[in-house]
């Protein structure tokens, strides 16, 4: 919300502070100021001048040569040498202008030589430092200042509707006659003012009004708050009920409806001050009647609506829900389709307005209006919000209604509006209003418990100080019952904790002590899953993989990119009902897309040898879609690279992760993984204790290409959720071998389809306890070995923990191994 400080000062007349002080103190007491702008920013040396003579420029048709009397401002700014008139008068200067709207006697804002204006006369963007005005010559004649248009002074024609569209601002005669020549023209225009922009929190409905903010300012600065003096003449000798009856059918959506009749209204412009106030909000002034309802809306925070009474059928107002499919033309001429949830204002025959949002075309006020039916109602906030959203029409009024208003305020606002109608529309207000409601909610009472407030805040503030504060906040204290009664406009104050906040706010949050909890100590730490993740990250980093982060939702097209068949279980993904777009519409069930996208980004940017990992969740529905309960959220370790390395360097990193997580038993690599996004001959599922815990492989070239990578890409994924129960961070020292080892090498001719895994299984099973380790040290396929065979060589190491081995023992073990290998069809070489 945007408000000039001068408006606040109308209600807090003693308020006196700099812009910065206001900003700081309001922000620290809870009315957050987002920023402020001075209206007179960049305007210097702007004085009141009067056009005393005006002549055509001899050499230019469109230019006028003016003698401008600047009275007291002459001295100190000009001398006979530089006033353009050779000192012809000791109070006037010569200014040449292209403006066409001036006549002799006009009183105008005049920028002196060396002064500054905010911008150009075309109302375009303002230069940061304004425009410096210097004496010069125009078509040969001296011009030693500038008469200003309203835009040049940083204001708008909305704020000053009397300003001409193109030309110099001329002070209206009624004002001009009281202005002293040479005095401050910005002062006369009311532009020594600052617009503050507030961020109002949703709990402070009352602060969406000038009075609300002024109340906060008054308490913040410890100055008195002065309500506008409202007295209504009620000059009409009839009651509102003689004109109209009000019937609220939808009581759940309307708690109060106040109606007033004002006759004999004269439509015309509203007073200039009111127009200017509305313009500050960006509300365009229209006429006195409309402007008053808008002004009261901003001042009191109560939207009002005015109907032309003569268009209301049957003298009836009925507040009820729309019919499904009902069509209504709002006063902007648009047809709106409605439903049962939209609250309508009807007369005896038809709808005349959408409650709280916009009136209808048929009952619209025209310049010929004579009798006005004025409405100040309290509608259900959430309903207005939803209706406005559904109809697609959020108006100034609905934006306020939707916060849920104080029903007491409707009457106060009605009084204020009627007063202004009397003052500025010559209206006659009916003797009484119609006030339809089912009883207003009782004012809330809260027990006054200063000791609890102090205990809650950690403060030691006296009871009297608190009571003084509550008094200024307009809460009333009843000593007998020890309760505070909350004024109706403070809907946010409900319990002790709310009172505590008031005490803290106005004591100053920063004056509350700062302590550490004295309570029982607790043991901090992380979860086993986090430990698992940290360990995996440690290994990843040591292997040169950097951590990436990718979105949790992605496009369902990802499954096609990854070549998954239509019935692939991965396609059973949780769908977002209102996604940002199809590309972000499903919760990922696999992590490859993010990883490959990131690798692709790097590849496109020509980054070499990139290795990335991510530890992130996949979201797996437990049963059928759509989900009705929590899905499984599994943390996955995913890593991959392109550039330097191959399947086995990838496998090495994977093995080390598993080692580090304490999964030290045999890992089984099953090449029959059949993952369509991986190279059919270079992929494996990883099993541990017979459970699938992950996979690895080279990315299928079609998939890599789809991500823009023309190099080989390798990826591995480990389901951390699945290894959590198997992981262990326990360490056991098994001693350092004291006795010598014995090594034996085996060189073999192996049928091509026999895997290293099978060979190693034989070695492990048959090597016995004395087998310490084994290592593949050579593998060869090609010309020297026969077709369908490969040559492999292992080095085996044997050792006994407690003694030196005998050669015979090793020979025996070797024999068993070799027999086993022969069974696999392996031929031993010398």
């Amino acid at each position: 919300m945007n408000t000039p400080l001068s408006w606040i000062k109308d209600y807090v007349p003693e308020l006196s502070c700099t812009d910065k002080e206001y900003y700081d103190r309001m922000t620290l007491s809870g009315t957050k100021v987002e920023g402020w702008t001075r209206f007179d920013h960049n305007c210097e040396k702007i004085v009141v001048g009067r056009v005393d003579a005006i002549e055509h420029h001899p050499d230019a048709d469109r230019l006028w040569v003016c003698t401008v009397n600047i009275g007291s401002a002459y001295e100190g700014n000009y001398t006979a040498e530089n006033d353009g008139l050779n000192g012809a008068a000791k109070d006037s200067i010569q200014i040449v202008t292209s403006a066409q709207n001036l006549k002799v006697g006009d009183v105008v804002p005049t920028c002196l030589n060396g002064g500054r204006v905010a911008g150009g006369h075309d109302g375009g963007p303002m230069p940061a430092d304004g425009i410096k005005i210097k004496a010069g010559k125009m078509r040969g004649l001296p011009s030693v200042g500038m008469m200003c248009g309203i835009e040049e002074l940083g204001a708008t024609r909305d704020m000053y509707p009397e300003a001409p569209e193109n030309g110099i601002y001329v002070f209206p005669e009624d004002q001009a006659k009281d202005l002293e020549l040479g005095s401050d023209a910005m002062e006369a225009l009311g532009l020594h003012d600052t617009n503050f922009d507030y961020e109002i929190t949703s709990n402070r409905v009352d602060c969406y009004s000038m009075l609300g903010i002024a109340r906060e300012a008054a308490v913040t600065f410890g100055k008195p708050f002065v309500m506008p003096k409202v007295t209504v003449q009620h000059a009409l000798n009839k009651d509102t009920k003689d004109f109209v009856s009000v019937d609220i059918e939808a009581k759940d959506l309307c708690t109060r409806y106040v109606a007033a009749i004002v006759t004999d209204v004269k439509i015309g412009p509203s007073p200039r001050w009111m127009q200017r106030r509305l313009a500050n909000f960006g509300i365009r002034p229209i006429n006195n009647l409309v402007d008053i309802t808008n002004f009261v809306m901003m001042e009191y925070g109560q939207p009002m609506h005015a109907y032309d009474y003569d268009t209301i059928h049957g003298g009836k107002i009925i507040v009820r829900r729309a019919e499904d499919g009902e069509v209504f033309t709002t006063l902007d001429g648009q047809e709106r389709k409605l439903d049962r949830n939209v609250l309508m204002i009807n007369d005896a025959d038809r709808a005349v307005g959408i409650a709280g949002i916009m009136g209808g075309e048929d009952s619209m006020i025209t310049d010929h209006v004579h009798t006005v039916l004025l409405e100040a109602a309290t509608f259900n906030g959430p309903n207005i919000r939803k209706s406005a959203k559904r109809i697609g029409m959020r108006t100034d009024a609905s934006a306020i209604f939707e916060k849920g208003l104080d029903p007491y305020n409707a009457m106060a606002a009605m009084d204020r509006a009627c007063q202004l109608f009397e003052q500025y529309c010559q209206g006659k207000v009916a003797r009484t209003y119609v006030d339809e409601n089912d009883g207003l909610p009782a004012l809330r009472k809260i027990a006054f418990e200063p000791e609890k407030i102090n205990a809650y805040l950690g403060t030691d503030i006296s009871k009297d100080v608190m009571l003084d504060l509550f008094h200024t906040l307009e809460l009333t204290y009843d000593e007998a019952s020890n309760t505070l009664t909350v004024p109706s406009f403070r809907q946010d104050l409900k319990a002790m904790c709310d009172l505590a906040e008031e005490v803290a706010r106005f004591t100053g949050y920063n004056n509350v002590p700062s302590t550490l909890p004295k309570s029982s100590s607790t043991r901090g730490g992380i979860t086993p899953m986090m430990r698992l993740q940290n360990k995996a990250a440690e290994i990843m980093l040591s292997y040169g993989y950097s951590q990436s982060e990718t979105f949790s939702f992605e496009s369902p097209k990802v499954f096609d990119t990854l070549r998954l068949p239509q019935d692939a279980p991965e396609r059973k993904a949780i769908r977002i009902s209102n996604p940002l777009g199809d590309d972000f519409s499903i919760m990922r069930t696999m992590t490859l897309n993010g990883l490959l996208t990131s690798l692709g980004t790097n590849f496109a940017r020509r980054n070499k040898d990139v290795k990335l990992y991510e530890i992130g969740k996949v979201y797996l529905p437990k049963g059928e879609l759509p989900i009705t309960d929590y899905p499984d959220e599994h943390y996955m370790l995913s890593f991959g690279f392109y550039g330097d390395g191959d399947f086995f360097t990838l496998k090495g990193a994977l093995e080390d992760v598993l080692d580090a997580e304490g999964l030290k038993k045999k890992r089984v690599y099953n090449a029959d993984a059949k993952r369509p996004y991986l190279h059919p001959g270079r992929q494996a599922n990883v099993f541990y204790e017979d459970e699938l815990i992950g996979f690895l492989g080279e990315v299928h070239p079609d998939v890599a290409k789809a991500y823009g990578i023309t190099d080989r890409v390798y990826v591995a994924v480990v389901n951390l959720a699945k290894i959590l129960a198997k992981a262990s961070f326990a360490h056991h020292y098994s001693g350092i071998a004291n006795y010598p080892s014995m090594s034996r090498d085996i060189s073999m001719l192996v049928p091509k389809n026999v895997t290293a895994g099978e060979i190693e299984a034989v070695i492990e099973q048959r090597g016995g306890k004395i087998l310490e380790s084994y290592r593949l040290f050579d593998i060869y396929e090609g010309a020297q070995v026969g077709l369908g065979f490969k040559s492999m060589a292992y080095s085996l190491t044997f050792r006994h923990k407690d003694r030196t081995l005998e050669a015979e023992e090793v020979d025996k073990a070797m024999k068993k191994i070799l027999n086993g290998l022969k069974d696999l069809g392996i031929e031993l070489r010398a």
Binding site: T27, L28, S29, G30, T201, S202, N203, P382, R385, A455, Y456, L457, T459, C497, D498, A500, E501, A504, Y509, N510, V512, P513, S514, T515, L516, P517, S519, S520, R523, G524, G525, I526, M540, L541, Y543, G544, Y545, S546, Q547, E549, T550, F551, S552, F553, S577, N578, S598, T601, N602, R605, N607, V610, K611, L612, K617, I627, T628, D629, Y630, E633
Partner: protein
């Protein structure tokens, strides 16, 4: 006679040793003098011609000479070794300013770097780090946090819905409720994790981002405790000289509520372009857990009180590392990641 021979051998050996240049030469000398056919051995062989009564004396002389020669040999040996080593070391001098050869190490994501710092501070204060579901029930994300069905905050947060009751959590605050429902008091927890809001991606917004929720519940927890705890956190993250400022704010699930600013860590609070002249930078939202929230989660607000806070992880990372575009965090360009 023998005595003269011995003296001669001694001085000749010394003479030769002084000219020797390598350990090999020294060895040759050793063999020539002390070897089986060496000069001194020859003299011992000539002992037969010495009168028996003189033999012990001569023997002693020979032994003394031998010891002296061995000493000289050893000393020459040491000298030459040292000289050779010195020469070798001199020749091996390298240009230490030549480029280093590095192992290609990996780098943590800046979010994680920031998170670890945050976690360390709170773990040090006895906080447990916990995890919570990202696909959440409406109750935990809104209702239990004092945000009923019609509350405007529900609209403000631009929620992604799954269907019916399930949604993508818009805040980590729901973890507070899960934690309180476990009913173990005292509670000191932080809950980092992903949250989701329907914001289009741009330099300052992302539909996926991270928060770190914090919650303390115990007997006698005060607003002053909230201030003190978060001031410690700010110092831990931004340095010992950091000052904090609390501004009133509104969150439905805390009362009183506040936003915390820290003194600008670039200018120290004087006001600069980094803090837009304010001297303060907004860091987090916090407040005393609303008694009604405690009550809904089965904790008696007459006995217990608590405070909660929510930190925007990306906000901390962007500020602390001066990252000017949030999109960098999810692109994973290695040139970006390597800077952390």
């Amino acid at each position: 006679m023998i005595q003269e021979d011995l003296e001669r051998i001694k001085s000749e050996t010394r003479e030769r040793l002084s000219k020797a240049l390598s350990p090999d030469e020294i060895n040759e000398i050793r063999v020539a003098v002390l070897g089986k056919k060496g000069q001194l051995t020859q003299i011992l062989k000539g002992m037969k011609s010495v009168a028996p009564e003189d033999r012990p004396k001569v023997g002693q002389m020979v032994n003394e000479t031998r010891a002296k020669i061995e000493e000289a040999l050893a000393s020459s040996q040491a000298q030459i070794s040292k000289k050779l080593q010195d020469e070798r070391l001199a020749a091996e001098t390298i240009d230490v300013t030549l480029p280093a050869r590095k192992m290609e190490r990996g780098h943590l994501h800046p979010n994680t770097v920031a998170l670890k710092e945050i976690e360390d501070i709170f773990i040090g204060m006895g906080y447990e780090v916990v995890d919570g579901p990202e696909i959440e029930k409406d109750y935990y994300n809104f209702e239990a946090l004092n945000i009923p069905a019609d509350h405007p905050a529900k609209d403000e947060q631009d929620t992604f819905y799954i269907n019916g009751d399930m949604l993508l959590r818009t805040q980590t605050s729901g973890v507070q409720i899960h934690e309180m429902e476990r009913g173990r008091i005292p509670i000191r927890m932080i809950a980092p994790g992903r949250v989701y809001r329907a914001d289009e991606v741009d330099a300052t917004h992302s539909p996926v981002f991270h928060q770190v929720e914090g919650l303390t519940v115990d007997k006698g927890i005060t607003f002053a405790d909230l201030k003190g705890t978060l001031a410690e956190f700010a110092k831990g993250i931004f340095g010992e000289d950091t000052r904090v400022r609390f501004r009133p704010h509104h969150f439905p699930f805390t009362e009183p509520s506040a936003e915390m600013d820290v003194s600008c860590f670039k200018c120290g609070g004087k006001g600069c372009s980094f803090c837009k002249g304010e001297g303060w930078i907004e860091i987090l939202g916090c407040g005393m857990v609303h008694p009604h929230v405690l009550e809904m989660s089965g904790i008696d607000p007459e006995v217990y009180s608590g405070f909660a806070f929510g930190i925007g992880l990306e906000r901390i990372a962007l500020l602390k590392y001066e990252i000017d575009d949030m999109r960098l965090l999810y692109e994973n360009d290695i040139r970006f990641l390597k800077q952390f």
